[in-house]
Amino acid sequence: MRLTIGVVTALAVLLGGAACSDDTDPAASGDGKVELNVYWWGGDKRAEVTEQALKLYTQRNPNVTFKTHWQGNQGYYDNLATQAAGPDAPDLFQIDDNYLTEYAERNVTLDLNPYVDSGALDLSKLPDSLAKYGQVGGRTMGVAGAENTPAMVYNKTLVQKLGVAEPKVGMSYAELVTWARDITNRTDGEVAGTMDPSADYKALWLWLRAQGKELYNGPELGFTADDLTAWYDIWQNARATGSAPPLSVIKEANGGDVTKQAVATGKAATSFMWSNQLPELQRATKDQLALVAYPGNPKGQWARASMYWSVFRGSRHAEVAVDVIDFLVNDTDAGKILGTERGLSPNTEVRKVLSQSLTDATTRATIEFENSITPKFGPAPAPPPKGHVKVRALLVAAAESVQQGKATPRQAAEDLIRQANAALATT
């Protein structure tokens, strides 16, 4: 028995030793050479332009090279969390507002304020609300890699063929549902007039903001069970009258693959998306698609970061990483390479230069949409609080239980408020 204990102890020491011994960092060799780990989610196109931009940085700063990793959206945060737990997160990584506060408040990301103050990181060319939307509790935890706006994509070909008016910015949800019923009727139920976004937190958020309310007040919910009941009622009614499709179609559309969205597969005439997703959707269908704001007063919208660049707090090369962010955000040449793949350039001056050189019609439609809606934006809220990821999942489950007929809008709303409050309190 004693021997076993001895062996176990020896093994534990051995393993512990092995775990500690890889502390030497090959990148930190004395000759000033730096290798930066960069990590993002996205497709081939994004990888291509990002790597090209980083190559340009290396050309200008030969001491800095990059080790890049990228993957699809699915599983990205699982992977990032694993690396952060290591703790071996990449020096520079992409993150979005769903997770920014989560990572910031758990001290995974580095506060960039000192670099902004010293001038190493220039955020002066970013729209004010965009720069502010990267702050968590006053600390700059991420720099917008691009600006993006929620947009309702609709099937322009179909709408024109049916002789229905095109949806307009500022139309109400009630008007949308009536409009959608018209389409459903005219296609004999082949095409549902509108996708049902009741499970989509960003649609709910904008609907609330259009009425002067918020999704969150600081770390708490910003809406009541009455608000949520009203929201579910809109869609209950839309499904009952055939304006919106049944749950199985909704689930199919939201399966994660953008090209399976109902507007692209022809199951519905609209989908609730992000404006930068138009080109990808357009490639999936022969019909011409177009963008319009989500229904409701557009002042509910704000300049939203489609994603941020954040620096890992444990990075040994934080200054270099910050300089790379500054380059990606402010450099005109980098901006030209990156184009609108992540959304509109966060830097308004780069944006101007870019818009002059665009040739692709779909991309131009995206930019035109952004430019037309930007003046109507309201002020930016704080990024969602820690625990938002849970609330988001609860919102999906609650909406689905209404869609499935398992709960009335009132029941689902009250359950959600209770569960979401508990979720926000335990984090």
Binding site: T4, A12, R106, L247, Q404, T426
Partner: protein
């Protein structure tokens, strides 16, 4: 289990030490042999310790903390039994996942075993090319847990999938089975049942062990096919059935991959495929509650342990071990 096997050689080793002391320490004593044994064992031992035992013990510790994955381990606070309490009192998703898992196991496991036994009976004949069929039926289990297979499955059972195409031949309009909350779990069950190859092979081996003279005696006594099956095959096969039942139940409870792939890692639609292990994964990695997830894992381990113990305790009423009685 693993721990006891690790212990037993050491018991022998220490007895050996005592014996060698009496024999005035021969140079090549059992102690040195024991050491050599451990050196040969070391690849496995290091694996067991590093990959299984130490992380397991660590997770037991974590289950009493609020560890959140993203913050350093040292910052995790001790919360006592709070995680366990929450599981049983205030987490509806927990009970949802228990319900899903239990109903999955209750339906899929018996059907899978029935399919395995049925096909094994058919393949236990001396047909031409029966070996080929055995191979073919076994094939699905080889790739059973794979992501690729789950993706194929999802595509077979979505709206435009092959299954609906098949139904269309008969003029039946299908539905997107994997996206329908009342059918998604059933789709997973069918996938699990289809992978009956592994228990089938074990059943086949069991069938070969049944002495033919028993059947001869039975038919002399005038027993028909069905009677032979009930009175000879089933009792003789009961140890194998028992083995398969225990193994497949444990497997069934642990289903993860297919549910993860089918629901896009959410357990949806409407939590209909929220298997226990998937819920555990979501809690740990999506919601950053690794402490809570660890507690879930330990309760799971206990539950499976209890279920297995129940099987073993009922086993003596229906499992028939023929060895020793009639030989």
């Amino acid at each position: 289990m693993a721990l006891t096997t690790a212990n037993s050689p050491s018991v022998r080793a220490s007895q050996g030490t005592g014996a060698s002391a009496k024999r005035r320490r021969p140079r090549r004593g059992p102690q040195r042999e024991g050491l050599a044994g451990y050196i040969f064992l070391s690849p496995w031992l290091i694996g067991l310790m590093g990959i299984t035992a130490i992380p397991m013990l660590l997770s037991l510790y974590l289950s009493f903390t609020n560890y959140d994955v993203l913050s350093p381990l040292g910052e995790a606070e001790w919360v006592g039994l709070a995680n366990y309490k929450r599981m049983f009192t205030s987490d509806p998703s927990y009970w949802r996942s228990v319900t899903v898992t239990v109903s999955f196991a209750l339906i899929a496991v018996p059907l899978k075993l029935a399919a395995a036994l049925g096909v094994a009976l058919l393949l236990n004949k001396a047909w031409r090319g029966v070996g080929l069929f055995r191979g073919l039926f076994y094939l699905p289990s080889l790739i059973g847990g794979s992501v690729a297979l789950a993706i194929v499955w999802v595509n077979m059972f979505n709206r435009e999938g092959a299954f609906n195409g098949f139904l269309a031949i008969f003029g039946i309009e299908g539905k997107p089975w994997v996206n329908d909350p009342s059918w998604a779990l059933e789709t997973l069950m069918v996938l699990a049942i289809w992978q009956f190859g592994a228990p089938m092979v074990i059943f086949l081996a069991g069938l070969k062990q049944v002495p033919t003279e028993l059947y001869e005696a039975a038919s002399v006594d005038g027993a028909g096919r069905f009677r032979q099956f009930m009175s000879v095959t089933l009792p003789m096969l009961s140890p194998v059935i028992f083995f398969n039942l225990v193994l497949e139940t444990i497997n069934g409870f642990q289903g993860f991959t297919a549910a993860f792939v089918l629901s896009d890692g959410t357990g949806g639609p409407v939590d209909s495929t929220l298997m226990y292990t998937l819920n555990l994964y979501l809690k740990g990695w999506r919601e950053y509650e690794m402490g809570y997830a660890s507690a879930m894992a330990w309760v799971f381990l206990l539950a499976i342990g209890i279920i297995t113990a129940v099987f073993f305790s009922t086993g003596r009423f229906w499992v028939h071990y023929s060895d020793g009685d009639d030989r």
